[in-house]
């Protein structure tokens, strides 16, 4: 199975699995598989979190995220939320960059 790391942070990484067109999120000895559409949904959930509210001492400083595609829950601290934001932004920027490079390379497909 061909796997390539797309982006990593201090304690998390996202790996692309080429044979299944899917992505693996690795963190804290966990491994969760995502289809691209599920990864988009996950990014949206993480980006929508109100970090300022999490910092408020009257509210709990943990956030529970449900992942409906695999029916799992993530319990994230503020630092983990910030790290996941960095991870997902980096991942999607890398995917966009790869897409731009592949577009240039595709010009060679009909190179006759």
């Amino acid at each position: 199975m061909i796997q390539e790391e797309v982006f990593s942070t201090k304690s998390a990484a996202i790996i692309q699995c080429e044979s299944t067109d899917s992505f693996l999120l690795r963190f804290d000895q966990n491994e969760i598989s995502f289809k691209l559409c599920d990864l988009f949904t996950f990014r949206k959930r993480i980006m929508e979190l109100d970090v300022v509210e999490l910092l408020d001492c009257d509210s709990p400083d943990m956030e529970i995220i449900h992942l409906p595609h695999c029916d799992r829950f993530l319990i994230l601290s503020i630092l983990e939320v910030l790290e996941f934001r960095e991870l997902l932004n980096g991942t999607f920027d890398t995917l966009a960059l790869n897409s731009a490079i592949q577009k240039i390379l595709r010009k060679g497909v009909f190179n006759f």
Binding site: E4, Q16, D21, F23, L36, C37, L95, A96, N98, Q102
Partner: protein, 175 residues
């Protein structure tokens, strides 16, 4: 590295967002026309009611056309919440004034999408939107012609009866 992004997420985020916004606009238009149809029906303007029921169906079809396109492109198609529609109108003319106002707003939104497609060089979506651009030319024409009938006929009871006789005959001929 395999380009999974291009294979499974054909449209740019900005295009997905603006198309989903349009899905919501069409859903709102459909609901607004339904409210207009109800107002006309209760007051005995049967043909005007039929006109607006048809318009409501049309807008729903537009909504689904956009929704299917998003889903076909493997992008998130969001089923929208619809806010309250206006149910109270003073006169039949006011209902048609609102209809034209709404169609112009829809045209503006469609043109904005075309502008975004050009900005992001999304030729496929721009081509897909061409149908909507043409459709809006027709929708605006029909709404304008209906209002012109009031200008020609007036708004007394006899004129409103004549308006009712003519409203279902308005059609757009682009030749």
């Amino acid at each position: 590295m395999k380009d999974i992004l291009r294979r499974h997420h054909v449209l740019k985020d900005e295009i997905v967002e603006i198309l989903n916004k349009q899905v919501k606009i069409e859903a709102h238009s459909s609901a607004a026309y339904l409210a207009m149809a109800g107002w006309c029906d209760v007051r005995g303007y049967d043909n005007s009611a039929e006109f607006f029921f048809k318009q409501s169906d049309e807008e729903r079809k537009h909504q689904l056309k956009l929704f299917h396109y998003l889903a076909d492109m493997e992008c998130d198609a969001i089923s929208p919440s619809v806010s309250d529609s206006q149910h109270d109108f003073g006169t039949l003319r006011e209902v048609f004034e609102k209809a034209l106002e709404m169609e112009i707003a829809v045209s503006d939104a469609i043109h904005e999408i075309v502008g975004e497609c050009r900005k992001y060089n999304d030729i496929a979506t721009e081509e897909f939107m061409r149908w909507f651009v043409q459709e809006q030319i027709e929708e605006e024409y029909i709404a304008r012609r209906a209002l012109e009938l009031f200008d020609v006929l007036g708004e007394d009871k006899i004129a409103l009866g004549m308006f009712e006789e003519r409203i279902l005959d308005i059609s757009y001929d682009d030749n």
